[in-house]
Amino acid sequence: MKKTIGIVNLYSNVDFMGLTKRRPVASVSFLGRYGLIDFALSNMSNSGIDAIGILIQEKPRSLFKHLKDGHSWNFNSKAGGVSLLYNEKYVNHTKYNNDINNLLENISFLENIPSDYIVIAPAHIITTIDYNKVVQAHEKSGAEVTMVYKPILDANISYVGGQILHVKKGEVKAIELNKGVKKAANICLETYVINTKTLLQIMRQAKDISTFFTLKDMFAYVCDERKIHAYEYNGYARCMDSINAYYKYSLELLNVDVYSQVFSNKWPIYTATNDTPPTKYLKHSDVKKSFVSNGAMIDGTIENSIIGRNVVIGKGAYIKNCILFNGSKVAGGAVLENVIMDKSAKIEKQIKLAGHMDAPLYIQDGDIV
């Protein structure tokens, strides 16, 4: 059998403002109990890939803590496992700190685990792609590179800055920057299958063109020279490319029809355990249309919100359209609407705080209001 290994590529220009001040986008909390990276990792795990490399761009502490030895995602810790690929040499140099340089610095990862194919996926585009199917289609196509795309109808507001693929007879003919002009587009999900040999060639080739070239640049560059297979995916895909997108798509999942596209018993999403007890609902709790995580204690009203682990909501507090991160506390009587509260932030006064649906109010981790 051909061997496939996975790479989760955390290199991107995406930031979530305050939320990514001390952590990478990959470890931003999602739906109360996950980290964003859990989806790419679970997809790999569910696709039977058991050796994973994570290309870390920056701020790795929370990621190390979350991933440990990859045990939670079922990666065999001896025969496979998770390798954290960090590029110490270039970390303070934005241009040199790119995915190709990182892979070259950590080339032993690719050398030590012999493989035929490599699946590359980002952490900030949430999907439930079965990479196994993509690999099979890739193999059948005879191409050296496969790019996964999704036909979408809102390219004017999503994936802006991403790539639009021009697909003809199952092949990528041209790659264009999404400037947010067109609505309908075949948008690239930054998910690739590539022959290991080809990846090594491309990386060496990149060095001869520009030291600053990224994998994305290189794929666009080789598009003219090599056959690139296009794989159409029509399942759930959302690009979390800003704090507003993150907020919007998180709350969107509270709708059952969206939720059921993502969560099924056949495709579990794994995450690290936190050993928190079940959620405790108290006498005055009134919760509707929300995700609630374990360890939370609720004595207030919550609507259309996402409540993280160990969150405490006091008696008579009112929470609507909010995302409350782990350990945040809202005192009784406070009113919060369209607010993102980062880890362990506290609302201690009976105040009213409101953001906007398109621009939520962000409260920094550990802050007291």
């Binding site: 939670s72 007890p277 405790k280 919760v287 995700f291 609630v292 374990n294």
Partner: protein
């Protein structure tokens, strides 16, 4: 270098009075508190007390329990020199296949396991009890008293005392007499089935006891009385926290309800660093629907609630449809309550379906167990 202490958890019991809940599961593996199995409590206590070698003695339905315990990873007992070991009754070279004849015999049959770690002390626990306890503090007391055995006791009411093994002790805690379920109790110090022994002494008594044909090979009935007869140093160690033996449907239900009404067990970790660890069930997020009404309840990940829930404990994968009503219940994993169904004061066994518009135990006089 030997370990200071090794823990041995007695987990072989069936728990017949739990009826259908233990038809296929040993009592220590029975679910509790919306997320846990009973044995998570002694195992987490061991982990939090700094004990890192734990033997789990299994007999009744040992496969499920043994698989659950695994190598101890769920409780962090998985370093290069730490583990939880499943020790079922087995075939042994010199005597052939044997069952564990009693609590003392179970430890006796695993002397070679304990010897590997060359411990100073052995902690013997029951796998059936719900409580949080720092065994390290008990060990300090054991060392300070230079005891041969220290027995954790709970001060119960005089009425209850007849149901327990009672330790009659002097003011300084030294035990001079042990009475099993006395009709006229002289004291109210009930044994919790938690013992710390100086291993050298225990080993000698276990080997002696094994040769006695008329012995029940039981700690309470044989080992402790034999030590007392020899005037060994036995001390009572009084425990003041929440402790519950969930031996019956009624007491299991009550212990679950206790979690809603008081904070004595401190499940929410108000006192830092004493989490109860358990299996991570990889469930979906807990999702609360638009028509849900939830009061005074514990609900865990993987639940979907769109009906009315009050005074209840819901395990992973439970689904409550709209217009359903769940009052004062414990719903085990995977239970489905369909639209319009009502259920009161019940424990519902795993994966049961409460069908649409049915009504169970509406008078709610006694706790009922719903199981096929």
């Amino acid at each position: 270098m030997g370990k200071e202490i090794v823990a041995m958890i007695l987990a072989g019991g069936r728990g017949t009075r739990l009826e259908a809940l233990t038809a296929k599961v040993a009592k220590p593996a029975v679910y509790f508190g919306g997320k846990y199995r009973i044995i998570d409590f002694p195992l987490s206590n061991c982990a939090n007390s700094g004990i890192d070698v734990v033997g789990v003695l299994t007999q009744y339905e040992s496969v499920l329990l043994g698989t659950y315990v695994g190598s101890g990873t769920k409780w962090g007992l998985d370093g290069s020199k730490s583990l939880a070991a499943n020790l079922p009754a087995r075939e042994r070279g010199e005597v052939g296949a044997t069952w564990y004849a009693g609590t003392a015999d179970a430890i006796y049959q695993n002397i070679s396991f304990i010897d590997q770690y060359d411990p100073e002390y052995v902690l013997v626990l029951s796998g059936d009890h719900i409580y949080k306890m720092d065994y390290d503090v008990m060990l300090e007391a054991h060392k300070e008293k230079n005891a041969d055995a220290t027995i954790a006791v709970l001060n119960v009411s005089i009425e209850e005392a007849s149901r327990f093994g009672i330790m009659n002790a002097r003011k300084d805690g030294k035990i001079y007499e042990f009475e099993e379920k006395p009709k006229a109790p002289k004291s109210t110090l009930a044994s919790m089935g938690i013992y710390i022994f100086t291993y050298k002494t225990l080993r000698k008594y276990l080997i002696e006891d094994a040769t006695k044909v008329d012995s029940h090979h039981d700690f309470g009935m044989n080992i402790i009385p034999a030590m007392l007869k020899d005037k060994k140093n036995l001390f009572a160690y009084e425990f003041n926290g929440y402790w519950k033996d969930v031996g019956t449907i009624e007491s299991l239900w009550q212990a679950n309800m206790d979690l809603l009404h008081d904070t004595v067990l401190d499940l929410y970790n108000y006192k830092k660093d004493w989490k109860i660890y358990t299996e991570d069930t990889l469930e979906k997020p807990q999702i609360i629907g638009e028509e849900a009404e939830i009061k005074n309840s514990l609900i865990t990940q993987g639940c979907y609630v769109n009906g009315e829930v009050s005074g209840s404990v819901l395990f992973h994968g439970v689904r409550i449809a709209k217009h359903a009503k769940v009052v004062d219940c414990v719903l085990m994993p995977g239970v489905i309550v369909e639209e319009g169904a009502e259920i009161y004061k019940s424990i519902v066994n795993e994966n049961e379906i409460i069908t649409s518009n049915s009504c169970i135990n509406s008078k709610a006089k006694k706790v009922v167990l719903v199981s096929q």
